[in-house]
Amino acid sequence: MKSTIPWLIAAVAGSVVIAAYFIPAAQSWQDAIGQWFEVLAAVAFILGGANLCLQNLQKISARQAGWGYAAVTLVSFVVTLGVGLLKIGVPVEDPQHPWAGSYQAEGSAEWWLFEYAYNPLVATMFALLAFYVASAAFRAFRLKNAEATLLLLTAFVVLLGRTYAGTVLTAQVPDEYSAFSIPGLTTIIMGVFNTAGQRAIMIGIALGVAATSLKVLLGINRSYLGSGDG
């Protein structure tokens, strides 16, 4: 029962949005809802932030293994939040509105944290992928069966085709057969096979999304509301 009213809210709101798509005067509602969602997601940060602080405080007070790192997280969280909300170090462009500058203006404290902590950390974490790609290539690309072989061969050709090596290797192929050079094959793979596969996946996903959305609107799927019945 506890999920009936929320379900009704979801069902009515969803149906109204669908109808609004076809009514010229209501087409801007979607944008309004998008803005409401932005606000709600921003407010929800408070829930997440509270949860983050609570988790780390618990670890620190219980002296759990690695509590020192919890303290580091907490300190960097509080400092970044503080200097960002207070706009510390933001150059004042307009003396009448000292608070109008951007929180991430160059030279501010928040900018420093972005430039020298956030940015390098995130980019380096992303860069780890180069290594994981290499180990996945060694481990997972085996000629086990027809499917795996196709995956491997395609990857092989496209990998070559995307560098100068591919151009050099098949530079001797005459122009009228250029489709069979490595860059030519890459183009065919991307244009025909990849496009066909992508399209089928997209059509399937669209149907999956439509059915799942309908299940939400019809109340068949209420798991996100805590109704255990699916």
Partner: protein
Amino acid sequence: MNREKRIWGILFVLAGCFLLYRAMLTRDGMGKVYLKPAAAAVADAPPSYVRARPDDPQAALSLPRTLGIWFAAFLTLSIFSFLYKDNPFYRFAEAVMVGVSAAYLMVAGFWDGIVPKLLGRLAPAQMSWASPSLENQSPDWWGLVPLVMSAMLLARLLPRGGWIARWPLAFIVGTYAGIRLISFLDADFVSQIRNTIVPLVVMNQAGQLDLWGSVRNVLMIVGVLSSLAYFYFSLDHKGAYGVVARVGVWYLMITFGASFAFTVMGRIALFASRLEFLFDDWLWLIDPLGKRSDLL
């Protein structure tokens, strides 16, 4: 274990010596940032600074940015150290990353979301201190809707009344179910079908059969249909239908292989740019952009 520790100890000392040598004993050192005043782009803007070559007469050493480069280099190496194994440096960097990023995005949510889209809408005159352009706007009472929903959502923090937080959640999931239902059917379902409708036989300008073009189109349609067949849930993959589904799987595998290879490319570029940061900005081993002119 002992041997491993010894080796690492030696490596650390060697690296330290190298850094000390580079930073102290070479003429130009490393990892420093110089700034000079920029030609202002907007007339009444406060002075801003741009990076300068060390040999520029106007250049001055910027301590915060120099420290920043060293801190960033330390964090970069700490993350890379995870590839060897989990270690205190990585755990430190991980802790900093979680704290800083969560707070940074909260700050962004506050100044870019809550201030203009909630407070600025309800009380523009009162919020003009944060955004002068709000000064002459009149309140938009629709802003009350997200305000009420936000309050309901925050009820979760109270010991009782958490149930009411489900209402805004249901509203969000419900409205987006509607929005996505429409946008996916329109953009992906209908338009992809439309894009795939091509002639099985292609004629060239002269009215002759374009064999290659025709083969391409046939391959494309066979691919889309057989891959769709793979996703069909009501039939087991057996018999003739199994063969069709199998062809579909082949297409999907080629798609995945191509995606994989394409992605490899990007990943390496990212790694290369991190190394470039270490070699160029920090260690001053290379200077591909001529940032330090001929000082190297």
